[in-house]
């Protein structure tokens, strides 16, 4: 793997790391497996791309994308809490619906962002080369998202979110409406995912309706990779592990793609299979380990 490919992978890891934080919030903190992300990532991309094309500031475009993502998350959470639809199914329904909505927003399957001002331009204006400017900006974004998430989970409201995922009966007895907390948590998660999608679109110069396929699996893989490396610690460690896991996951994928054995080489289309195997392995290894040590 070349240095250029490595920096590219780190950059991707930081970009998608913001999405992974969102997945961590639903999957680990709220215990709410949320597949909405496959739709809210391109939603964020679509909203920010259309906004920028209409002359809106690229940073404001990210805020708009986050608002859209928050609403998408709220829909999933409302389907689950108020209409009693199983969380997985509720999120799949929102995800499917978002496919149509995203095409409506973009008035087509994709929007190009070539030649318009993106969040990268102010950094480039400092004279930094593109290949360094992007990782630097996205590292700042990922760090900011992590700090905000860690702070939020230590507030009164954040503790209620943690408790809702851990022990709903307890937190109800402490006077918390768990439905409201789930709506807030899944909304925030998808706001982060949409922000990630908006940044990805601005970075790669296009938003595409299919760019969200496999987001949840990549997110889960990153969360699990991070936990394997940093262990199941507190909230702060968990959030850092999410970003770190995302970076390592993208580097590992880049390494796998540059792997060659004789005439055999992986193609980008093998990515889904590799990721699926990685997640299965990471999910089952603790079980197998426990069985072995239990003898």
């Amino acid at each position: 793997m070349t240095a250029y490919a490595f920096i590219g992978a780190v950059e991707q890891g930081l970009l998608y790391g913001i999405m992974v934080l969102g997945v961590y919030l639903t999957f680990r903190v709220l215990d709410f497996p949320d597949l909405t992300v496959d739709g809210s990532l391109p939603l964020g991309a679509a909203v920010s791309a259309v906004a920028i094309s209409n002359g809106i500031d690229p940073f404001l475009a990210i805020v708009a994308a986050m608002a859209a993502g928050f609403l998408a998350g709220c829909v999933t959470a409302l389907l689950n809490t108020k209409l009693k639809i199983l969380h997985l199914l509720a999120s799949i329904l929102t995800m499917i619906a978002l496919y149509s909505i995203n095409i409506r927003i973009m008035d087509g399957p994709n929007v190009s962002l070539l030649g318009v001002v993106t969040v990268l331009d102010p950094i480039m204006a400092w004279g930094l080369p593109g290949y360094l400017a992007a990782p630097l900006l996205f590292a700042l974004c990922a760090a900011a998202a992590t700090v905000l998430m860690v702070w939020f989970l230590h507030t009164e409201l954040g503790l209620a979110v943690l408790a809702t995922g851990d022990n709903a009966r307890m937190i109800t007895a402490q006077g918390v409406n768990t439905h409201r907390i789930i709506i807030l948590g899944v909304g925030l998660s998808n706001a982060l995912v949409a922000a990630s999608g908006a940044l990805v679109a601005q970075n790669q110069g296009a938003a595409d309706v299919n760019m969200g396929v496999g987001t949840i699996i990549a997110g889960l893989a990153s969360v699990i990779v991070g936990e394997t490396l940093l262990g199941h610690g507190g909230i702060t460690r968990g959030c850092i592990a999410a970003i770190l896991g995302s970076v390592i996951y993208r580097v590992a994928i880049a390494a796998a793609l540059s792997f060659k054995l004789g005439t055999f080489a992986f193609t980008p289309s093998d990515l889904n299979l590799i990721t699926a195997l990685l997640v299965i392995a990471a999910l089952t290894i603790p079980m197998v380990k426990a069985r072995w040590s239990g003898r």
């Binding site: 009164e156 943690l162 851990d166 007895a173 006077g175």
Partner: protein, 264 residues
């Protein structure tokens, strides 16, 4: 303090397995009453507490707490007025959070939760003094995860958390049943001390008749969703386990000699 009128709750309504869990309960509990509730399995003791707390929706009747009609209030809203300790020691606390985080959650019971920092420095002193009452050394372990504590320690913490914000009503649902005898005795002693010193209005469900007799100023026996015995004050103080059993079996029209040893 608590007024229940014609409180009715059925399970599996309309089906062949329909059970009348609460059959038109009328009950008035005065401020400061410490009521022990006994009865056989399926008598409706836990159902009564769960209906009061709002965990179960009732089929008919009304519930008033402290002068307010709370019949239509959801569980989380009634939690403003109610402190609860459950039978399962794992239910009352949050295993993934630390002791101080759990207490920080409890100190906001019935108040709004904002983006203010969760565990506030001034509150820590209060947490410590409250935990010192337990004599378990938990005051020096504020940052320990609650999942690392034993069942008894968790139940003791739940007890403190339920009364951290003074509840108008304290509901104890067989809160010592899942503990070993020694720990159960400690928790009971703690319960007694907290309720006595603060004069809390309390409903305590128990399976243990001796416990029901030695605690509280009032005793209620439920059977098939009805109140079959309600004694207070002097009359209650004079009661013995045998009297309770006699009352229990006479209400059922069954002989009790064979079960005496078992239940006594």
């Amino acid at each position: 303090m608590i007024r229940l009128a014609r409180l009715t709750k059925r399970f599996h309504r309309g089906g062949v397995n329909e059970v009348m869990a609460l059959d038109g309960i009328d009950l008035h509990i005065r401020p400061g009453d410490f009521v022990s509730i006994i009865g056989s399995n399926g008598a409706g003791k836990s159902t009564l507490l769960n209906c009061l707390a709002g965990t179960y929706a009732i089929d008919a009747g009304s519930i008033r707490l402290g002068g307010r009609d709370v019949t239509a209030w959801p569980e989380y809203r009634r939690a403003k007025l109610i402190g609860r300790v459950f039978q399962d020691p794992l239910v009352g606390t949050c295993a993934a959070l630390s002791i101080e985080q759990n207490m920080a959650l409890a100190i906001r019971r019935g108040r709004s939760r904002t983006l203010a920092w969760g565990v506030k420095k001034p509150d820590r002193g209060l947490f410590r003094t409250q935990l010192e009452i337990l004599g378990l050394g938990l005051e020096d372990r504020l940052k320990s995860r609650v999942g690392l504590l034993s069942g008894g320690q968790r139940q003791a913490l739940t007890m403190i958390m339920a009364t951290l914000i003074e509840p108008e009503v304290l509901l104890l649902d067989e809160h010592t049943a899942a503990l070993d005898p020694k720990t159960a005795a400690q928790i009971l002693d703690l319960t007694h001390r907290i309720i006595e010193t603060r004069g809390l209005t309390t409903l305590m469900v128990t399976h243990n008749m001796a416990q029901a007799l030695s605690f509280g100023n009032r005793l209620i026996m439920l059977h098939r969703g009805r109140v079959i015995l309600d004694v207070a004050g002097e009359e209650k103080a004079g009661l013995k386990v045998d009297d309770l059993l006699a009352r229990f079996y006479s209400s059922q029209g069954e002989a009790f000699s064979s079960d005496r040893a078992l239940l006594g």
